[in-house]
């Protein structure tokens, strides 16, 4: 009879050594075959040439005076200088949230808060030419800007304290700060120093951010309701949601913005207290909500039907099946699409120039065109505005990628 042999698993060996170092990398990736070699040979010189001309322009003739002599207008547009402290207070409040998030979630939130702090310090100490035309940068503005480090720290403490560090507090605090910020900017009748500054005087980066945050803040819940409504078994609800979504997705945002100025007043009573900015904000929000709704609906449709069945089999009532099982999974699966949507929304806030608002892009354009000494600085202006937009959108997509990884999107 055959003897019983002991079975030995083969030893685990290290992977085979491949060519390493940058030469090996270049060989494999840039000159792997004749086509990729050709692409490399053609594109690399073009890229080098473009970078070279850009850099030599940046260190040579580029003149940033257009920006450093008008920081106020890039930041807040034509918001009156004597009230400039109001947006600065709003900024201080917002920093609390960054600090709190950094302490509560660490990781990406902390890195974003650190970057935010560094940029804030830079903005506080940069050698500006002027604050705006003819006014030297006042010391108190610098003090306010640097004060953000303090409120960032306060937020951090709130986020480190076990009693206050609750996601619910963060959300409620965010809502409170949002409302307070709008109140401070708009003014409180009867309070000295808080005279009304109508939204049509708001501008600069501040306007882009307010429109974007308001849009995201409202588009998300409205989008969820629309997505659920579109799946509703009540025909009236369903039809209304479908019509709403398809109308707002089918018409360009520019057209909607024009319509909000021309058509909406017809539908509203005369003297209805909704100014053109609020109307633009509402249109941007609804436009974004329609896209958010379709993203979330896609997420809902992608769910395995067994999920809802298992929840129903446990005796959960229908609305809890939706709220606790389906929506969280659907939203988690479409975070990349929703964040992409919100990045688009942020960029689209520039379109409010159509209703005569001076957002950062339009503000820059009118500085360049309205001042003889800056007519040659259109490039610097555009590069600056582009970098500002990019900083915010990149931060958003960075945050989204980290959240995705944390929630394990794509890994069920």
């Amino acid at each position: 009879m055959a003897t019983v042999e002991a079975w030995q698993p083969a030893p685990s060996l290290p992977p085979p050594r491949t060519e390493t170092g940058w030469i090996g990398w270049a060989k494999a990736n840039l000159f792997g075959n004749w086509l990729s070699g050709l692409v490399t040979v053609v594109t690399v010189p073009i890229i080098l040439w473009a970078v070279w001309s850009m850099v030599s322009w940046l260190v040579g003739p580029a003149d940033w005076t257009v920006i450093t002599s008008r920081p106020q207008q890039y930041a807040i547009g034509l918001y009156p200088t004597e009230h400039a402290w109001r947006p600065l207070i709003g900024w201080l409040l917002v920093s609390i949230l960054f600090g709190m998030a950094a302490a509560m979630w660490g990781g990406a939130a902390r890195r974003i808060a650190i970057g935010y702090g560094v940029v804030t310090v830079l903005l506080g100490v940069l050698p500006y030419g002027m604050f705006h035309e003819g006014v030297v940068m006042p010391w108190w503005v610098r003090a306010f800007i640097l004060g953000n480090l303090l409120t960032l720290g306060i937020g951090y403490l709130l986020g480190s304290n076990a009693k206050t560090a609750r996601p619910r507090n963060f959300v409620l605090g965010g809502i409170a700060i949002y409302v307070l910020l709008l109140l401070i900017l708009n003014g409180i009748p009867g309070v000295p120093g808080m005279e009304e500054v109508a939204p049509r005087k708001w501008g600069g980066l501040m306007l882009n951010l307010i429109l974007a945050v308001s849009g995201i803040f409202f588009a998300f819940p409205i989008g969820i309701l629309l997505a659920l409504g579109r799946r509703s078994s009540l025909p009236v609800v369903k039809v209304l949601c479908v019509v709403f979504i398809e109308v707002f997705r089918g018409v360009p945002l520019i057209t909607l913005l024009f319509m909000s100025q021309v058509l909406v007043p017809l539908a509203l009573p005369a003297n209805f207290p909704v100014d053109s900015v609020t109307r633009a904000a509402i249109v941007i929000t609804l436009f974004s909500a329609a896209y958010t709704a379709e993203n979330i609906r896609g997420g809902l449709q992608g769910l395995h039907p067994g999920q809802a069945e298992a929840a129903r089999a446990l005796g959960l009532p229908g609305w809890q099946v939706t709220m606790l099982i389906q929506l969280p999974q659907a939203i988690r699966n479409v975070i990349p699409a929703i964040v992409g949507q919100f990045i688009a929304l942020f960029k689209d806030t520039s379109l409010v120039y159509i209703v005569g608002m001076l957002d950062i892009l339009e503000m820059g354009r009118s500085i360049v065109q309205g001042n003889v000494q800056f007519t040659d600085n259109g490039r610097e202006n555009l590069i600056f505005v582009a970098v500002v937009f990019w900083l915010f959108t990149y931060t958003m997509s960075y945050a989204s990628r980290r959240v995705e990884r944390r929630l394990g999107v794509g890994r069920r």
């Binding site: 069945e309 298992a310 129903r312 446990l314 959960l316 099982i325 999974q329 890994r411």
Partner: protein, 258 residues
């Protein structure tokens, strides 16, 4: 009204039989999936359901907790007739646990939260109480150390055991199993069957299980019910079912799956 008369007319079946099905019909569009199913399941009874693919096994046990709605006949579960009335249905569903072939754990919740979700939301059990009994259930199914993991981090066998614990957390009177082991690798089938055997042996719970694990059926079933073409062909205790079936169809089916 209709419910009361239906139940009152048949007091005996209400007491002894936790599930009563009378001439149940179900159509999917034009397709006649259940063609007059009549059977009863007594309290504490363990019934194994077998039959060829597409014979209506799943459809039938899903009518018991009304994941599918039947169109003709009566189904009475624990004295409550399955009707359009939504309140009845949520109440019945919380009394009937169900385990699926594809586990259907909630991937965004930890094992612990999967188990405590229904008790805290439906029964309003306080969180700490729900946590404690969830932990006991995890010990019962043999994986207390996995409590804080997410379903995606578990093996198939472990996931199915969590799914059983999740259903048991509602203290159901009836457990329905729809091919709980057929998505599992052979090594993992055993660990799930062990848990099911332990449940069956306790005789505190009524079990209706679709499974082709004939060893399991032989060992723990009180009856084996065979479906074909939307009807029940045979309904016998395991011994007789295997050794002395009345219908030739059973023998043919057994020879196919053995």
């Amino acid at each position: 009204m209709a419910t009361e008369t239906a139940v009152a007319a048949d007091p005996a079946s209400e007491q002894d039989n936790i599930i009563v099905a009378r001439d149940v019909h179900k159509w999917f569009g034009n397709f006649h999936a259940l063609r007059g199913v009549t059977t009863t399941v007594g309290r504490g009874e363990v019934v194994v359901v077998i039959g060829p693919s597409g014979s209506g096994k799943s459809t039938f046990i899903r009518t018991i907790n009304r994941l599918e709605q039947h169109q003709r006949g009566d189904i009475i579960v624990d004295g409550v007739e399955m009707t359009e009335d939504v309140r009845n249905i949520d109440a019945i569903r919380s009394e009937v646990g169900m385990v699926f072939q594809s586990f259907n754990l909630f991937p965004h919740l930890t094992v612990m939260r999967n188990i405590t979700l229904a008790p805290t939301k439906v029964r309003k059990t306080p969180m700490d109480e729900a946590d404690a009994s969830a932990m006991q259930l995890l010990e019962r199914v043999g994986i207390p150390e996995q409590a804080e993991k997410y379903p995606g981090e578990l093996s198939g066998g472990q996931q199915q055991r969590v799914a059983i614990a999740r259903a048991l957390a509602m203290n159901p009177k009836i457990m329905l199993f729809d091919e709980p082991t057929s998505a599992l690798d052979p090594e993992m089938i055993k660990e799930v069957l062990e848990v099911m055997k332990e449940l069956a042996a306790s005789h505190q719970m009524t079990i209706v299980a679709i499974t082709h694990e004939l060893g399991f059926a032989r060992e723990v079933a009180d009856r084996i019910v065979m479906f074909d073409e939307g009807q029940i062909v045979e309904d016998l205790p395991p011994d007789e079912f295997f050794n002395n079936p009345r219908h030739e169809r059973v023998r043919r089916f057994l020879s196919q799956i053995l």
